[in-house]
């Protein structure tokens, strides 16, 4: 039995692609396939919210796909999501009690390696702005705001207000 995902979409487990094709013929609905990239962000240095500009890599990626060679009904949608926003069907394996903590097999500290950058450098005074601001919180709270979904049509066109699909800039704002 299929699980029900977000927006009432019925989800097929990975590997059930044949079953998916059969159902698609019956339901005559479009098919989707998703994959996920994790984003490991640099620690926030100040109190300002982090702002990631992903337009260039995403635009380069989609223009590289040569979508004009595909059927007009093909679509691509790229969006940033937080862990809490992941759809229910992604596998969330529980952490086993016998699983060693990542810190137990973390790589040796960089200071142990004799590199030129490891040469002691006198610490400079913090920048004036840092003196007046409260210290950064120990735990980074993050808020991802998808400014716009990136949806492209098969011709690679869009970006018009009356177009059913749009090419827009995706910005991710992290932080409060």
């Amino acid at each position: 039995m299929d699980e029900v995902g977000e927006d009432g979409k019925r989800k097929l487990a990975s590997g059930d692609q044949d079953a998916g094709a059969k159902k698609a013929k019956v339901d005559a609905g479009p098919l989707y396939s998703s994959f996920y990239l994790a984003l490991v962000l640099a620690p926030r240095t100040g109190s300002d919210p982090r702002r990631l500009e992903l337009t260039d890599p995403v635009t380069a990626f989609t223009s590289d796909l040569e979508m004009n060679k595909l059927s007009p009904s093909t679509t691509i949608d790229i969006r940033d999501i937080k862990r809490a926003g992941l759809p229910p069907w992604v596998p969330r394996e529980p952490r086993q009690p016998d699983e060693p903590a990542p810190s137990e097999y973390a790589p040796p500290a960089p200071s142990a390696q004799p590199t030129p950058s490891a040469t002691p450098v006198p610490r400079t005074a913090p920048e004036p702005a840092a003196k007046t601001e409260p210290p950064a919180p120990p735990v980074v709270t993050a808020k991802a705001e998808p400014v716009a979904d990136l949806t492209f049509d098969a011709n690679g066109s869009g970006n018009t207000s009356n177009s059913p699909v749009k090419r827009s800039v995706m910005k991710i704002k992290i932080g409060s």
């Binding site: 009432g8 979409k9 019925r10 097929l12 990975s14 698609a24 609905g29 479009p30 098919l31 989707y32 396939s33 998703s34 994959f35 996920y36 990239l37 994790a38 984003l39 490991v40 962000l41 640099a42 982090r50 990631l52 500009e53 992903l54 260039d56 890599p57 995403v58 380069a60 590289d64 796909l65 040569e66 595909l70 059927s71 009904s73 093909t74 679509t75 691509i76 949608d77 790229i78 969006r79 940033d80 999501i81 937080k82 862990r83 069907w89 992604v90 596998p91 969330r92 394996e93 529980p94 086993q96 016998d98 699983e99 060693p100 137990e104 097999y105 973390a106 790589p107 993050a142 991802a144």
Partner: protein, 287 residues
């Protein structure tokens, strides 16, 4: 061509040989089969040729196969088994296991698995993993060589195939996936070290499933859509594993993964340290 036959994933390769007929007992290791073939055909033929040669290069085939089963299970459970997504594919894991078998010719399969993690935890990448000296031949196909090729010099975790023309089986590895692979190998070394150390850990722990979606806070979700399964398949194959010949490499052939390009450009963006991909997909139907 990718297919599933009786529940088994199969990559069906095709090559056209310049011969009037193909005998049942054709010896694919005969280099004359490669004459007048283009790079794509040679790559196709190299699948079975590498597998054949690999079995000749390990000291004990039974031990090797058993150890490789364990390594592949571990890699699948830990979500690091996918050449397309920038991790290692089946041939790379096979070559790395075979190298450990060569280093410890008398060891049993369990010891090979333990040594696998010990050896690769301390491996000085990008020093390549090779099973034999690389061959040059008058046929003139390009052999992996970081001293003459800038492209090869950029490979960060080279695992080289033994059959002529030798190639790197891990060209899709990125800075991000390399970090994940290294972390998983260190984890394996820690657990197998404890297993060896008076059973302070169990083999089951080594094969614990990855907690990928719990390990990270932020994700990029890429969803491709099509009206039919064929459309979706064409989309997907174009998306992740298209074979493209670029001008510079026109004579040599060059397999590119667009996902690798996306990962590389994302991880070079300001504020992003790494972009580990999840080596699986999910499909859904919009109703």
């Amino acid at each position: 061509m990718k297919m599933v036959f009786s529940g088994i994933d199969i990559d069906l390769l095709h090559a056209t040989l310049q011969r009037p007929s193909i005998p049942d007992d054709i010896n694919l290791n005969d280099l004359s089969n490669l004459s007048n073939l283009d790079e794509k055909m040679v790559r196709s033929l190299n699948g079975p040729r590498v597998a054949d040669e690999l079995l000749h290069l390990v000291p004990n085939v039974r031990t090797y196969r058993l150890a490789l089963c364990a390594i592949k299970l571990w890699a699948q459970r830990r979500c690091i088994y996918s050449n397309i997504m920038g991790y290692l594919g089946g041939i790379a894991w096979a070559l790395m296991t075979a190298r450990v078998c060569q280093l410890y010719p008398k060891a049993c399969a369990g010891t090979i698995v333990i040594k696998f993690f010990t050896v690769y935890k301390g491996w000085k990448w990008p020093k390549p993993v090779t099973l034999k000296n690389l061959e040059e031949h008058s046929l003139g196909f390009r052999v992996w060589n970081p001293t003459t090729s800038m492209q090869d010099r950029q490979h960060i975790m080279p695992v080289i195939t033994p059959a002529y023309p030798s190639m790197n089986s891990t060209y899709n590895v990125t800075k991000s996936t390399f970090a994940v692979l290294q972390s998983e190998i260190r984890r394996g070394a820690l657990i197998t070290g404890r297993i060896k150390d008076n059973n302070k850990a169990t083999w089951e722990t080594l094969f614990n499933k990855s907690t990928f979606f719990s390990d990270y806070k932020f994700f990029l979700q890429v969803t491709v859509g099509g009206a039919t399964k064929d459309e979706l398949d064409s989309w997907y194959s174009l998306f992740v594993c298209s074979v493209r010949v670029e001008n510079y490499y026109q004579r040599r052939g060059f397999v590119e993964s667009r996902v690798r390009h996306l990962i590389n450009s994302l991880q070079d963006s300001p504020g992003i340290l790494r972009v580990p991909p999840y080596p699986g997909t999910s499909s859904l139907i919009d109703v």
